[in-house]
C-alpha cells in the first residue's frame, strides 16, 4: 500500500514544480485541479478495506477539488477576460529553484522528525511540507488574484496530505467540518475575486495599492 501511496505523493510533489514553472494561468489552474484529484484518491489507497464512507469522501474531494473549484476559477478567468500570462513577482526559474530546494529541505526535515513506525517509509510528511512551501511561494510570487488562489489551493493540499497521517484518529465530524470550512472559504474567495474584477476592472493584485502607509 505504501508504494502506491508514495507514487501518488511523488506525483503531487512533481506537480508542485510544474505549478511553479508554468507561465500560463489556465495550465496553473489545471495543475492545481490535477493535484487535488491525486490527493482525493489517496484515502482509498490508505484504507485497508473499502468502506462506503471513505469512498464517498474520496468522490466528494475529487469532485470539489478537481472539478468544482477549477470550474469556478475558469469562469472567473473568462468573465474577467484577462490576459492569460502570469506576471511573476518572483521569476519562474528562481521559483523553480526555490521550490526544488524546498523539496529537498522537506525530505531532509521529514527524515529528522520522529515518526510512528508505520509512517517511516512514507513520503507524507515530506510531500506535505514541500506542497506548503510551494503554495506559499505561489502566494507571494504571483500577482494575479486567481493565481494566488491556486497557490492557496496548493498550500491547502499540503495540509490535507499531513491530515492523512491522522486519518484514523480524527473524528469524522471534525474532518467534515474542516472540509466544509475550506470549501466555503474558496467560494467566498471566488465571490470576492469576481467583485474585485468588477470594481477594479482587473484581477492584477498589483493594482490594489490604494491602502498603504
Amino acid at each position: 500500500m505504501n508504494d502506491w501511496l508514495n507514487l501518488l505523493i511523488g506525483l503531487a510533489m512533481g506537480l508542485n514544480l510544474v505549478a511553479l514553472g508554468t507561465s500560463r494561468l489556465p495550465s496553473l489552474i489545471r495543475v492545481a485541479a490535477l493535484q487535488g484529484m491525486v490527493l482525493g484518491i489517496m484515502p482509498l489507497v490508505i484504507e485497508h478495506e473499502l468502506r462506503l464512507l471513505a469512498v464517498a469522501v474520496a468522490i466528494a474531494t475529487v469532485a470539489i477539488k478537481g472539478l468544482v473549484i477549477p470550474a469556478l476559477l475558469r469562469r472567473a478567468m473568462r468573465t474577467a477576460n484577462i490576459d492569460r500570462d502570469l506576471h511573476p513577482l518572483i521569476g519562474f526559474l528562481p521559483s523553480l529553484l526555490l521550490g526544488a530546494a524546498g523539496m529537498i529541505g522537506a525530505v531532509v526535515l521529514a527524515s529528522r522528525l520522529p515518526l510512528l513506525p508505520e509512517h517511516h517509509e512514507s513520503l507524507l510528511v515530506a510531500g506535505s511540507l514541500a506542497s506548503v512551501l510551494a503554495g506559499l511561494l505561489l502566494l507571494i510570487g504571483r500577482s494575479k488574484a486567481i493565481s494566488q488562489v491556486c497557490g492557496y489551493l496548493i498550500l491547502e493540499n499540503g495540509i490535507y496530505l499531513f491530515g492523512l497521517l491522522l486519518i484514523h484518529s480524527v473524528p469524522l465530524l471534525v474532518e467534515g467540518g474542516i472540509l466544509l470550512d475550506l470549501t466555503v472559504a474558496v467560494f467566498v474567495t471566488g465571490i470576492i475575486v469576481d467583485r474585485i474584477q468588477r470594481a477594479f476592472d482587473s484581477l492584477d493584485t498589483r493594482k490594489l495599492t490604494v491602502l498603504r502607509e
Binding site: F162, G177, A199, L211
Partner: protein
Amino acid sequence: MKELLLIIVPLVAAALAALWPNNRTRPWFLPVAALMHTLLSFGLLLYPPEAPFHAWFGYDPLARAMLPAVSLLFLGCAAYGVPYLQLRSERSNRVFVPAFLAALGLMSAAHMARHLGLLWIATEAVTLSSVPLLHFNNTPRAFEATWKYLLVGGTGIALSLLGSFCLGYASLHGGGTGDLTFAGLVAQGASLSRPWVLIAWVLLLVGYGTKMGLAPMHTWKPDAYGEASGIVGAMLAGGVTTVAFTAVLRVRAVVEAAGAGVVANRTLLVIGLFSMLVAALFLLSARDFKRMLAYSSVEHMGILSFGAALGGAGLWAAFFHVWNNSMTKGALFLSAGNIRRAAGGRTVDEVSGMSVITPRSAALFVMGLFAVTACPPFGPFFSELLIVKSAFGTGHGWAAAFFLGCLLLAFFGLTRVVFAIVYGRPRQAAREMDPKFRETLAVIVPPVLLLLLSLWLGLFTPEVLRQSWTAAVQQLSPTP
C-alpha cells in the same frame, strides 16, 4: 447544556434575519439577540455550569473569564447598529445583519471550544463570516481591504490547521488514542512528542497570531479596520482578537504540559514586545485616524501576549486587560465612526476642528484616547500597571522598561493624531457634509456606556470577575 444557547441563539437569530423581508426593521434583530446573549453569558458568569472533562464545548473558566466581555461589546455595537444601518438605508443589510449575528454565535463557539479541531473550525468560520461585513461599503478600497484580509487571514488560518495536525500527531506519537480535546492533550502531558509539539506551537502561534494581529502578521489589520464601519471594526478589535487570544492560551497550556512552557513563554514575550514596538513606530507616523486604531489594537495584542508570557499574576492581568481592551476599543471605534461620517475624510490632512462639528463624539474620542493609552482612572491603567508589576516581580526588569517605552511612544503617536483632528478650524469639506448626520442619543449612548464600563472596571473591579480570572489562571496552569 444552557451554555450551548450562547451559540444557538445568535445563529437562529441570523437565520431569521436572513429570511426577514423588511430592510428597515431587520437591524432590530441585532440588539434583541445581543441582549439575550449578554443575559445568558452573565447568568453563566454568576452561576458557572460544570464543564465535563471530555466535553467538546464547555463554559469552562477560560470561556467564563472572556466571553462576557465580548458579549457586552457586541451589545454596544448592536445598539449602535440600529441607527447606523438606518442611516445607511440605501444599502441592503440582508447579508450584513445575518453575518454579524453569525459572527457572534461562532465567536461564542470558538471561546467554548475544548477540542483542537472544533476550535479551528469555529475560528475559521468567524473569519469567513466577517468577510461580508468588511466589504459592506462596496467601495474599491473596501474590496482591496477584504482581499488582503482573506489572503493574509486565510494563510494564517491554514497554517494553524497544519499546526493543529502537528499537535494531533504529537499526541498520536506519544501513544495517544486520538483524544484531541485540550483536557485530554494536557493530561497526556510529557508523553507528547517534543519536536512535534514545538513545530505545532510555532505554526499555531503564527496562525492564531495572524488572527490576533500580532506583528509581523498584522499587515491586514490597518486596511481592514480602516475600511470597515465602526461596529465591524469594534467587533474585530475587541471580539475576534479575543477569540484568537483564547486559542493561543489553550494551546499554550498543552505546550506547557508537554514540558516546553519556558520556550512558549519566551516566544510570547518576544512577539509581544515586537508587536508593541512595531505598533508604536507606525503610530508615530500615522495620519489616518481609523488606521491609527488598528495599530493601537496591534499594540494591545502585544500587551496581552506580554502579560500571558509572564504567567500567574501577569496572565491574570492579561484577562483584566482583555475586558478593558474590549470596552475601550468599542468606545473608540464607535465615536470614530461618528466623526468619520460627519467629517467626510479620515486623515489629519483632511479633517480638523471636529470639536466644533461633532462636539459629543469628539469629546468621547478624546476620553477614549485617554482610556486606551492607560491614563488613570480608566481600566487599562490598572491592568497595565499589574502587568508591569508582575514583570518586575518575575525578574523581567528590562522587558518592563521596554514595555513602558513602547507605551510612551504610542501615547505620543495617538495624541498627535487625535488632537490634530479634534482641534483647529473645521475644514470646508466637513461643513458641506451630509446634513443628515446628527449626533442623536442613539449613536452617542452606546460608546458612552462602553467607556463608563471601562471606568467602572478600573475603579471597582467586581469580585465575581476577579474570581473568574483567578479560576481561568488556575485552569491554564494548575501548579502555580
